[in-house]
């Protein structure tokens, strides 16, 4: 077993990526995720890897596209405004079926917004973000340990399905320090016969491309890709349930909002209120099945978010509006408190009882 260290979420991501075999990092600094780049700048040269600060986010994501095409583990990281800039490249990477890891340590928006934590890039992460029909697998870690664990998992899953994966964190997750144990990773990397690494004149060329001149061909490619997405929805969905067995009200929250919600559950239970929590760990695929089943036995749901209410739409879709779904939120870099969550539980209970 490896020893514990005290790390910031951002550092944990960087070190975990290195452990997972990532030897290429391209990025451009932006608060609150700059520690990832700073850490990579220190570590990569020592282990024969490449750290490159690109001239812009657009440039960085296209470098990621290039290295992903060559079949090497590669990542970039940014925060909300920077991730917006990367969307064109992410769409190209999805369109070319390439594995890569994109980190978004969210801050308040829209526009330049602010540097404080936020979760308002949910739509962008799970509904496409860039143009065209595609998905990213999106992980939402809720501790520094999970920042490390899901970074490693993200590389494996990206390779397995040949697609870009996103780790959707926020300023708190990036900045907070917690003890973490970095697992020793055995080489999980799979063969990549599609990679563009030179043919040695021994085989036909591999082609990395997202352009299709015939619409029939593009349609078929999209159909095939969505068949793959169905597999992913079946195999890769992750969530955590907390005290939901006898719950009247179930909170739905991810990332830092889930940690706060967990406290709210404990506080509410002290006051005799039966409250539970469902924490999506993958935001796409979304844990729709468990939410739908839960809807049959509870009185209502509260989506706890650091945004104006984005995931709440998926909660409503998942539960087919069988029970009321309310929003408890703060935005713009403000953080919801357990007390506010408990208040919203009481309000909903007074409506449904």
């Amino acid at each position: 077993m490896s020893e514990k260290v005290l790390m910031k979420g951002n550092e944990a991501i960087a070190e975990a990526a290195i452990k997972a075999g990532c030897r290429f990092y391209f990025g451009y600094p932006i608060t609150p995720q700059t520690e990832i780049a700073a850490y990579m700048a220190k570590r990569m040269p020592k282990i024969g890897g490449t750290f490159l600060q690109a001239e812009s986010e657009v440039s960085a994501i296209n470098m990621v596209y290039g290295v992903a095409g060559a079949g090497y583990r590669v990542m970039t990281s940014s925060s909300s405004p920077g991730v917006s800039l990367k969307q064109e490249g992410i769409s190209y990477i999805a369109g070319a079926d390439l594995p890569a890891l994109i980190i978004n340590v969210q801050r308040g928006g829209p526009g330049l917004g602010g540097i404080q934590p936020s979760q308002s890039d949910y739509f962008q992460a799970v509904k496409g973000g860039g143009h065209g029909d595609y998905h990213l697998i999106v992980y939402a870690p809720a501790s520094v340990q999970e920042m490390a664990d899901y970074t490693i998992k993200a590389f494996d899953v990206a390779d397995k399905y040949r697609m870009p994966v996103m780790l959707l964190a926020d300023g708190t997750m990036g900045q907070m320090m917690e003890p973490v144990e970095l697992p020793e990773v055995s080489a999980n990397e799979i063969e990549k016969p599609w990679a563009v690494r030179g043919t040695n004149c021994a085989r036909p060329h591999n082609i990395i491309n997202s352009l299709y001149l015939k619409p029939e061909q593009l349609e078929k490619t999209n159909f095939d890709r969505f068949e793959k997405y169905k597999e992913i929805e079946k195999n890769e969905c992750l969530y955590e349930e907390y005290m939901t067995e006898d719950a009247d009200i179930v909170l739905v929250a991810f990332g830092i909002a889930a940690r706060i919600s967990k406290n709210a559950v404990v506080e509410a239970r002290k006051q005799g209120l039966k409250v539970g929590l469902i924490r999506p760990i993958t935001l796409w695929p979304f844990p729709s099945e468990v939410l739908n089943k839960t809807a049959d036995r509870v009185k209502g749901f509260i989506s706890v978010e650091l945004s104006m209410g984005q995931m709440i739409e998926d909660v409503k879709l998942a539960t087919e509006c069988k029970k009321p779904v309310r929003l408890c939120n703060r935005t713009g870099g403000m953080i919801v408190s357990p007390e506010e969550v408990v208040e919203s539980v009481k309000k909903l209970l007074s409506e449904v009882e």
Partner: protein
């Protein structure tokens, strides 16, 4: 506070996230308790998140003057230092504590005050060490960071405080295990380890010499866990 005669100016520097700010704030409060006149300056213009200003209320109430960048803890956190920092060196007769940003990157900002500090020559520059931080796991790595910081600000370290901790998982045993590492760092850097700092409760159970009990200061955003 364990017995140690400090100079007029105390600089806290070290690896990013080693606990410099927390230590500097604790040090300021302890000095004030001992009846000294204390001013503390936040020279960290690298990390806009955890900083001295988080403890502004506590410091001000204790009668300690806090000098920090005008926009600290706002969304327009500009990397500019306030002019008030100069008075720490142009005026004397009080204790000046400086919280320096992490690593060599954070220490560059100190450079503009280096001539005044060296000229007065009444300073102590303390290397805050946490051997549980990923890039200072060994005395050799810590020494490397030390040299980088010295190169960036132009001042040499004069002492070490072992502030090793594992956040919420810190126990007396955990801290005790780092004493040897601190001694090795002392040997290769030829600098004394003046204290081992630990959270008050942990410090009580720590049966080693020179323990400085500290309290954890409030953070700009604190997530309380049950």
């Amino acid at each position: 506070m364990p017995n140690y005669k400090f100079k007029r100016v105390t600089l806290f520097a070290g690896h990013y996230g080693s606990g410099k700010t927390n230590l500097a704030v604790n040090f300021a409060l302890k000095m004030k308790e001992q009846g000294e006149q204390v001013k503390i300056a936040d020279l960290d213009i690298v990390n806009p998140y955890f900083r001295t200003k988080d403890s502004a209320k506590k410091l001000t109430e204790a009668g300690i003057e806090l000098i920090s960048p005008a926009f600290a803890n706002t969304n327009v956190d500009l990397p500019a230092l306030p002019q008030e920092v100069y008075k720490l060196f142009s005026q004397k007769g009080f204790r000046a504590i400086l919280d320096i940003g992490g690593d060599d990157r954070g220490a560059y900002a100190l450079g503009r005050y280096t001539p005044s500090i060296l000229q007065e020559n009444d300073y102590e520059m303390i290397f805050v060490a946490n051997f549980f931080r990923p890039l200072t796991r060994t005395p050799q790595e810590a020494l490397e960071v030390m040299r980088e910081i010295e190169g960036a600000c132009g001042i040499k370290f004069t002492a070490i405080i072992n502030n090793s901790n594992l956040g919420k998982d810190t126990t007396a045993e955990v801290v005790k295990n780092t004493v040897k590492l601190a001694e090795q760092l002392s040997e290769i850097s030829r600098l004394p380890v003046i204290f081992t700092s630990a959270e008050t409760q942990v410090a009580k159970e720590l049966d080693i010499d020179g323990v400085l009990p500290i309290t954890l200061q409030e953070k700009f955003f604190d997530i309380k866990e049950n």
